[in-house]
């Protein structure tokens, strides 16, 4: 299983839901998991993370086991059984 954690606007959109488990399959990537996530939700959620072309928004943070996928293979990063994917729509502060 893969655990998806929701933060920021994503959690607010999901009425406070903090996480979700999705089944893992050989060959799963971060991008594929986002598609699976969208498929199980009734509202458009992944649009807060990626645009209509499947490109990450500036400021989107996706951490795979606490490592930013921008420093891995972005949406093509391979995901393994038991991994944790933390999803943060763009946010900032100081």
């Amino acid at each position: 299983m893969i655990r998806l954690q929701f933060y920021g606007l994503l959690r607010l959109m999901l009425s406070g839901k903090e996480s979700l488990e999705l089944p893992w399959h050989e060959g799963d990537t971060v991008g594929l998991l986002l598609e699976k996530f969208q498929a199980v939700e009734k509202i458009p959620v992944t649009g807060k993370l990626i645009d209509e072309h499947g490109t990450l928004h500036a400021g989107t943070i996706i951490l795979l086991n606490r490592r930013n996928i921008l420093h891995l293979k972005k949406l093509d990063t391979q995901v393994n059984d038991g991994d944790v994917l933390a999803l943060f729509p763009p946010g900032a502060g100081g």
Binding site: Y7, L12, A58, A92
Partner: protein
């Protein structure tokens, strides 16, 4: 004058109780932009940098920028500039709210306070009329009470900036609070105000501010507003969750200093997160004057053992009164945040100082008898109590009021103070985010996140994503961010706009407002000039380049946990490159050539 300026400076001699109006030095305004830069120029020219920060000879300057009070990019900021009693460096603290625009609309661009009042006074400004009034009846009152009283006796629509009891008691990190909840927060500017027996400034301004090129300004403003309203950070993230959105981001990144930076993650971070604040005490968001972002949190404590209402806490406060004290009690943090506003104290420094005291207690250096209670990490009630004692100047609170460096030093362990130049780190570990470590070490007012917010590229990926552990190129990034921030602070624009807009937009607004025709590069040079001027002030004040460093913990104790486990700061590798990109000598001193290029000699 019709160019973003009124061309007027109000000089207030508190010793003589005299207010005089002077012409603003427009040559300086052109070279140093305004706000932070222009006020620092005046400070540099008018005080000896070695002077006692709490002595009569220090001056206290309230400065707007040429964009303060205009529209287009959250243009409602002012700066308080003085010599800091916490660090001995130049202090320049920024705040928003409604007071800055009201000051501008009164017809004054800047106020310089000098001398010291014999008895507590406050300044009343009604457009071009300024007078000092007795403040004996206000002394001892909280910032809330002070503002309410002044509005009742002076003008119901007046905007007020004031100190609370902490400023009166010369707490080294006392701040100046305006509009009840906005703070010129860092470096102890409130203590300087208290040392002058100046309780408050109340302003009623009914004029406006005009620009040199109104149609050009309208166009520039339209562009910036569109960018602010469409960028996901300024149009969605900040309004919905405020700065508190960062708690989970920074914790997951392994950069949330915990238990006085003994750890880099907090296992209860979720309890003090922005998401949790939305679910508990948040009532609505709120903006400063003319701001389309509206990141402030209006909150109220309900269903808790604590009571109260107000604004905040911000991310920094959730960390300082939370994670770094090992505290996960959201209600206690919210309450302590309210108390900091009411007594007028910097939440970052007080939280970090309480955390330092907790580590001193953990090590057996502070005893229960001294404090009057156990001082364990994670004890929320003790934290709230200490905040109150510090604000009131009671018991062990007087030691907390010195800041963590002087506290730890008094026990012979200054290395346990998480400070640079005696000012406490904000909420990012300098090991986990290498560029921030460099930025803390080189900041002109001691450790600070709003002098060059490298968290933006290193963690948030804005404007582009950098590896927080890489050091290559970080020196140039630090310089660029420091110079841009100096420009933005001087213009009178909120720093948060720069998540969406950049130097081209600020330059365009400035040109249209002031009637100039500067290039982006020239504006970056202006930022560089301001940075170097601040550096020169500090050098003359006796702050040597040897203080461009970090605590031993950050340099040599590897992070024990989280995704950055095993990492220390690589500052020694970055600092020489930083000096080089600044055009300074290897000794960290600006070269004669550099100063000549900037027009500083």
């Amino acid at each position: 004058m019709g160019n973003g300026w009124h061309g007027k400076l109000l000089r207030v001699n508190l010793s003589e109780k005299i207010c005089t109006i002077e012409a603003l030095n427009m040559d300086w305004a052109a070279a140093y932009i305004g706000g932070r830069g222009l006020a620092t120029k005046y400070l540099t020219e008018e005080i000896d940098p070695t002077t006692d920060a709490l002595g009569t000879d220090n001056k206290l300057i309230f400065a707007t920028g040429p964009l303060t009070g205009t529209y287009g990019a959250a243009n409602g900021r002012y700066m308080v500039v003085t010599k800091s009693p916490l660090t001995g460096t130049v202090a320049s603290s920024n705040s928003g709210g409604y007071f800055p625009c009201e000051l501008k609309y009164s017809g004054f661009d800047m106020i310089i306070f000098e001398g010291k009042a014999e008895q507590p006074l406050y300044l009343k400004i009604h457009n071009q009329h300024a007078e000092l009034a007795d403040a004996a009846h206000l002394w001892g009152k909280t910032t809330d009470e002070t503002e309410d009283q002044i509005r009742a006796e002076f003008h119901g629509d007046a905007k007020v900036a004031c100190i609370g009891p902490a400023g009166e008691n010369l707490v080294r990190f006392a701040c100046i609070i305006n509009d009840k909840h906005r703070a010129a927060g860092r470096s102890g500017v409130g203590a300087v105000m208290g040392s002058k027996n100046l309780k408050a400034i109340a302003v009623r301004g009914t004029g406006g501010v005009t620009t040199a090129n109104p149609s050009g300004f309208r166009e520039a403003a339209r562009e910036t507003l569109k960018m602010l309203r469409t960028h996901p950070v300024t149009s969605e993230g900040l309004p919905a969750l405020g700065t508190a959105i960062l708690v989970n981001i920074i914790n997951q990144s392994g950069a949330l200093p915990t238990n006085n930076s003994q750890f880099g993650t907090f296992d209860k971070a979720e309890s003090i997160s922005g998401e949790r604040l939305v679910q508990t005490y948040l009532k609505r968001n709120k903006g400063c004057m003319g701001c389309v972002i509206a990141c402030a949190r209006v909150t109220k404590l309900t269903g808790s053992r604590f009571t109260g209402s107000g604004e905040g806490p911000e991310y920094e406060t959730l960390w300082s009164l939370g994670a770094t004290c090992g505290i996960s009690d959201m209600a206690a943090i919210v309450k302590a945040s309210y108390l900091c506003d009411e007594y007028g104290m910097d939440t970052i420094t007080i939280g970090s100082t309480v955390a330092c005291a907790m580590e001193l207690y953990q090590r057996g250096l502070i005893t229960e008898d001294e404090v009057g209670m156990p001082l364990n990490f994670g004890d929320a009630d003790v934290m709230v109590k200490l905040v109150e004692m510090t604000g009131k100047g009671e018991g062990f609170g007087n030691k907390i009021g010195l800041g963590s460096y002087r506290l730890a030093d008094s026990y012979g362990v200054p290395e346990l103070s998480m400070t640079v130049k005696k000012q406490e780190f904000p909420a990012y570990d300098g090991r986990a985010i290498q560029g921030m470590g460099l930025e803390y070490a080189t900041s002109n007012r001691g450790a600070c996140h709003v002098r060059g917010y490298l968290v933006s590229p290193e963690i948030l990926g804005l404007p582009e994503k950098l590896d927080p552990q890489a050091i290559e190129g970080k020196a140039a990034w630090a310089k660029a961010f420091q110079d841009v921030t100096a420009l933005v602070d001087s213009a009178g624009v909120c720093l948060f706009t720069t998540f969406s807009i950049g130097v081209p937009q600020v330059t365009r607004l400035l040109n249209a407002a002031t009637g100039s025709n500067h290039t982006d590069d020239q504006m970056m040079v202006a930022g560089d000039r301001i940075w170097n001027m601040e550096r020169l002030f500090n050098l003359k004040a006796g702050i040597t380049p040897a203080q461009d460093t970090l605590p031993k913990r950050i340099l040599s104790e590897p992070l024990p946990d989280g995704p950055m486990k095993g990492i220390v700061s690589r500052l020694p590798e970055m600092l020489p490159e930083y000096y080089s990109v600044r055009g300074w000598g290897t000794d960290g001193i600006p070269t004669a050539v550099k100063l000549q290029q900037l027009g500083l000699v």
